[in-house]
């Protein structure tokens, strides 16, 4: 399969480390600057990977969910120094709870968006390549589970198309009949998916999956580019972890909003975080430019 971007061509260990770091940091760092960096980078990278589909998902799916999550928080949390007004119940509506609601929503949306990038880059063969030797059963189950939803969706389309040919699709007949047809399709699908899982497991066993001494074919090579990426990831990740442990990214929302601001150390941490999050985007832009230059040079020599 053609790679979606330059980073998808990197060694699976590099990709996995990148997503591990980015996801963990997105979940831990509640500093507003970090949340903004993480969310915007995730948006940018998902659009680079998935194009128009990602734009639609991010703005029609994630944004409304973010707003909902942001407005739910002040309905349940009333802590905070700055009282804006009072809710009908008599509990206060505070600025801090609204701000925290937005922060939590940004974190949630960022993590979901990062996972959409993860799914596009870390295909199941990469995952099995990384963990097939160490935890064969678990990695097979995981990759089968992750494959399940897209596979199920594709199969729904097949079954529903076949049923439509004999006039028994959910689009045929009265409301009761449609429901009955839907139930039939669902039952077919469940049967199919169970059988499919057993078949996959049997087929992997018959190939000797998980036996000691079994080698696996892979086309992943650890190149110089991967070594550089790994070093960059470790440097950024280590600096960020150390800086966060020293309190450079400290932030609190309750009872008053307070935290590390714009001193030099914190700004260097924001820069490191931005560099870490945008690493694949940088790599892609750099390789695209190199490709363009190479083509121009070639074109120039012909002329």
């Amino acid at each position: 399969m053609r790679n979606r971007d330059a980073f998808s061509g990197c060694h699976p260990a590099v990709s996995f480390l990148y997503f591990g770091l980015v996801l963990i940091f997105s979940m831990i760092f509640m500093h507003p600057v970090c949340l903004a960096i993480s969310l915007l980078s995730a948006f940018a990278y998902s659009i680079l990977l998935n194009g128009a589909r990602a734009v639609r998902f991010n703005f029609l799916g994630l944004l409304p969910m973010m707003l909902l999550a942001a407005f739910i928080n002040p309905a349940f949390s009333h802590e905070g120094e700055t009282i804006l007004t009072y809710l009908p119940s008599g509990n206060p509506l505070t600025l801090e709870s609204i701000v925290y609601g937005f922060a939590a929503a940004a974190m949630l949306a960022g993590v979901i968006c990062w996972f959409s990038c993860y799914n596009a880059v870390m295909t199941s063969d990469k995952f099995v390549y990384l963990f097939g030797r160490v935890i064969p059963a678990l990695s097979l189950v995981l990759s089968m589970t992750l494959r399940f939803v897209p596979k199920f969706k594709a199969q729904i389309r097949t079954v529903s198309g076949a049923q439509r040919c004999v006039g028994r699709d959910v689009s045929d007949g009265g409301i009761l009949q449609r429901a009955r047809h839907g139930m039939t399709i669902l039952s077919i699908l469940v049967t199919w998916s169970m059988e499919n899982a057993i078949e996959t497991a049997d087929s992997m066993r018959s190939r000797g999956y998980g036996l000691p001494g079994r080698t696996a074919f892979s086309i992943y090579r650890f190149e110089r580019r991967d070594r550089r990426m790994l070093l960059a990831l470790l440097a950024c990740g280590g600096y960020l972890a150390a800086g966060a442990a020293m309190g450079g990214l400290r932030w609190r929302y309750y009872p008053t909003i307070r935290g590390a601001g714009a001193n030099g150390f914190s700004v260097s941490l924001y820069a490191a975080y931005l560099a870490l999050c945008l690493l694949p985007v940088f790599l892609d832009l750099r390789e695209a430019r190199q490709w363009r230059l190479a083509q121009n040079a070639e074109g120039g020599s012909h002329a």
Partner: protein, 322 residues
């Protein structure tokens, strides 16, 4: 060794992974000693001088200080286990030997949610010295309460909202849905104090230290107007709105009352597992919720923050049992 490892690599990896997972869960889940982590991170030990001055300021400030000091002096010093934390007890064992570790361990329940209700009552009993309620907390009188109109269940001895009989001479609960509020204006004295936190500052959530005034008063005793028939909760809600004091409550249907979770951003459990808000009317800590206490003209109401389930403010009732 190598052969063994290559044969059992899968099992070994599984065991290591499981151990890492469990230790991470233990570390972050709060089951570990101390606030979070392997060793108890010892907050600065409140020196005996500090706690004595804190105590005296509390005596000067709090109207319940008399009963508070009575409670602590009557406490049996034999309660020398980790839960002992009364200033009076601290005084006779707070040499340098009673190290920082002691203070850290004395914070009842290191983390939020670390103790069950029965553990909490047991800890409070130990702090109180095992000899029952605070001075001034009287036994309920079933006959008197029933004469006043309280309907007690014969099998449990409590009314339908889990309230035990009130002591003789005290008002019985009035359900908020039955209360008749008239136009007659009355006044009461109203105050909110968190002076008890100043005695246990090392237990307090560090983010909240700035919220505690030096003298402990969030609202000094003030004359407040209310309408006849209103409950303590009505007055608290209105007064906090008027004074711009933050207050959060939650309705608890089984007690048919509001539960005050936090005032001035100081919440329950912010100063140890046994901390929270209590209220006192005319030097009595009612054994029912503040929505059910109907105020009379001239009453004196104070909300006080306790760090020891009421022992430190003189409102501990051995019979309450959570």
């Amino acid at each position: 060794m190598k052969a063994w490892f290559s044969r059992h690599r899968r099992g070994a990896a599984g065991v290591v992974f499981l151990a890492l997972l469990l230790s991470a869960a233990y570390y972050f889940g709060g089951g570990a000693p101390g606030l979070r982590g392997w060793s108890a991170s010892a907050p600065q030990a409140a020196s005996s001088v500090q706690s004595e001055t804190g105590d005296s300021s509390a005596q000067a400030a709090s109207s319940s200080a008399a009963s508070s000091s009575a409670a602590s002096s009557s406490a049996v010093p034999a309660a020398s286990s980790s839960a002992s934390s009364q200033p009076a007890e601290k005084a006779d064992e707070s040499g340098p030997a009673a190290s920082a570790k002691k203070t850290a361990a004395a914070r009842p329940g290191g983390t939020r949610g670390g103790m069950t209700a029965s553990e909490k009552t047991a800890a409070a009993k130990e702090i109180a010295g095992g000899n029952g309620s605070s001075a001034g907390v009287e036994q309920g009188d079933a006959a008197y309460s029933e004469k006043q109109g309280m309907k007690l269940d014969a099998s449990t001895g409590k009314d339908q909202y889990q309230t035990a009989p009130v002591p003789e001479g005290k008002p019985v609960p009035v359900e908020p849905q039955d209360a008749v509020i008239t136009d007659r204006e009355c006044t009461c004295t109203f105050s909110i104090s968190c002076a008890a936190i100043n005695d246990n500052l090392s237990w307090l959530d560090p983010d909240k230290k700035e919220l505690v005034p030096a003298d402990g008063w969030l609202l000094k005793p003030t004359q407040v107007t209310f309408y006849e028939g209103e409950s303590v909760f009505n007055v608290l809600l209105r007064t906090c709105k008027q004074q711009g004091i933050h207050m959060e409550y939650k309705n608890t249907p089984i007690y048919n009352s509001a539960y005050i979770e936090g005032i001035g951003n100081l919440y329950e459990f912010d100063c140890g597992e046994l901390s929270g808000w209590m209220y006192e009317v005319n030097d009595w800590f009612p054994n029912y919720g503040c929505s059910r206490y109907q105020l009379q003209d001239g009453d004196s109401v104070s909300f006080v923050y306790t760090c020891d389930l009421g022992v430190d403010v003189g409102g501990y009732s051995a019979a309450a049992g959570g």
